[in-house]
Amino acid sequence: VSARRRWVDIGLTSFTYLVLLVMLAPVLWLVASSLQPNGNLANGEYDLLHPTLDAFGDMWRNIDFERYLANSIVICTGAAALATAFASSAGYALARFRFRGDKAYGVTVIGTQLIPGSLFLLPVFLGFVWLGQNTPIELLDTHVGLILVYTAFFTPLAIYFMRAFFQAIPRELEEAALVDGCTRFGAFVRVVIPNAAPGLLATFVYAFLFAWDELLFATALTEQDAETIPIGIRNFIGNYNEEYDQLMAAGVVSTIPVLIAFFATQRWLVKGLTAGAVKG
């Protein structure tokens, strides 16, 4: 390797790390700002050697963060679990079986992504109001209501996600189980699902990440009891819009759960995200 080539190499590597630093800078700024008193944020003079956790305590009390956090965790976990369950069975059907209407079904699943949320939001809202007035089913401003809606939202892409994982599992596994006397459903549950465990986990995290960030439907379908974190933060901005230390602290706390979930599963998540892309 020539000396010139080696210097180019070092240069490119340093540049890569510089790009990484620029991409991470806003996140680092978020964390740094959450550890400063509000006065320092207002005049921009940070004292990084003396961090304080005050903003976290203030934010927890003033935003009533616990309530929103609990709602978000319940709703997103429920929706991600249901979406993963439905997507694994539908994804398995698309990966392994040919049935009349399979192509049409596949296209319709993707087609749902074309519909602007605002178009079906109002009828869903009206449907919830109607159910509340005419039946004992309470869906407006409840965990169940948002879980059902989010399940429907994140199932379509999760189906394609799971399909890619199932396609990577050899058919012989199920065939052997069928020969051994398993029913089709038994083979799916006892043989295929355990082999697709990393895919299930990745799909769950993927659906969870998206549900965590959903704001449009949460705005319309919650009033008080089922409000999620983005709504809580939006309300807080409306009430105290200058308290940036608390907002930054709330931002950090809102990001930590998804960041942990992402880094813990990124090996499989990255595989799921890129598998469909590379195979076309």
Binding site: L12, T13, F15, T16, V19, L20, P26, V27, W29, L30, L41, A42, G44, F86, S89, A90, R96, F97, R98, R100, Y105, V109, T112, Q113, L114, I115, P116, G117, S118, L119, F120, L121, L122, P123, V124, L126, G127, L148, A152, T155, R184, F188, D213, L215, L216, T219, R234, I237, L247, M248, G251, T255, V258, F262, F263, V270, L273, T274, V278, G280
Partner: protein, 325 residues
Amino acid sequence: MTTKTLKKPVARPVAPPKARSAARGRERFAYWLIAPALAFMVLVHLIPTAAGSFLSLLDLNTFTFQQLFGAPWAGLSNYDAILFDSANPLHSGFTNAASNTLFYTAVVVAGTLSGGLGIALLMNRAFPGQRVVRTLMLTPWVVPSFVVAVLWEFMWQRDAGIVNKVLVDYTGILGERPTWLLGENTMWAIIVPSIWRGIPFAMLIFLAGLQAIPRELHEAAALDGAGTWRRFRYITMPLLRPLLAIQLLFGVIYSAYQFTIPFVMLGSNPGPSADLMMTLVMRQSFSNNLFGYGAAVSTLLMLAMLVWVGIWYATFRRDFAEANA
């Protein structure tokens, strides 16, 4: 369920009875597998979408809201007001939001894809810490959009914000402090964070594509005397084209439907320079109770996306036909 009607016998090569019933059993099993997802799709996506399009034909507002689907019939008058009635303030609101959305979508998609491709090319070589860098590079994509909006709103502050500190105080790139959160610059205030959050995902997809290109192709071309640029132009780009196409398709749809970033950063009325289609629809529907109008704008937005899918399909269909062959 539709399983009954779908099972109508069709002309098929005659198979032994046992094989035929096995095939039918497999098909029935497949319908059971898709049933839950299908039920949710019909109940939450398809029926409400049809109902939403129907509402766009009604005069549904504060006064008629109690009547719901029985509100006075308006025919196409909502559409007429939006598209052609230049005396109607809703018309100018719509054309303004439409052109903003077009600009936002074009810049965000172009910025995200070119930034993602650039970083992917930079990372597609062996260097110490490659895997860790790739994972850390994804961080902005994991930060929720509502946090991105709050964070950047803070960074865009005119006096204390870090953006102006860097641009004006530390580097002197700009002579005086721009106001980002008011007036014309608001469009850039929502574009920059959107690109920042979008780049990692594009990078991930392009990098996976780059790593799937056999090294021998580049080596052979290099032996034949092709330089870096020619190899990029004639080997890398054609092989990345299907990935570019897919990201273009979903990137445009996703950006055209952007709501969270302008709504959290700038409020329910982001102002004339940053009002996008979704913020317009939500404000008119839920703050001003103009539900028929909102439904009509949403329907138009969906039609625009259908046109986009048509254009996309005509442009890229051959790439996918080749991939499948």
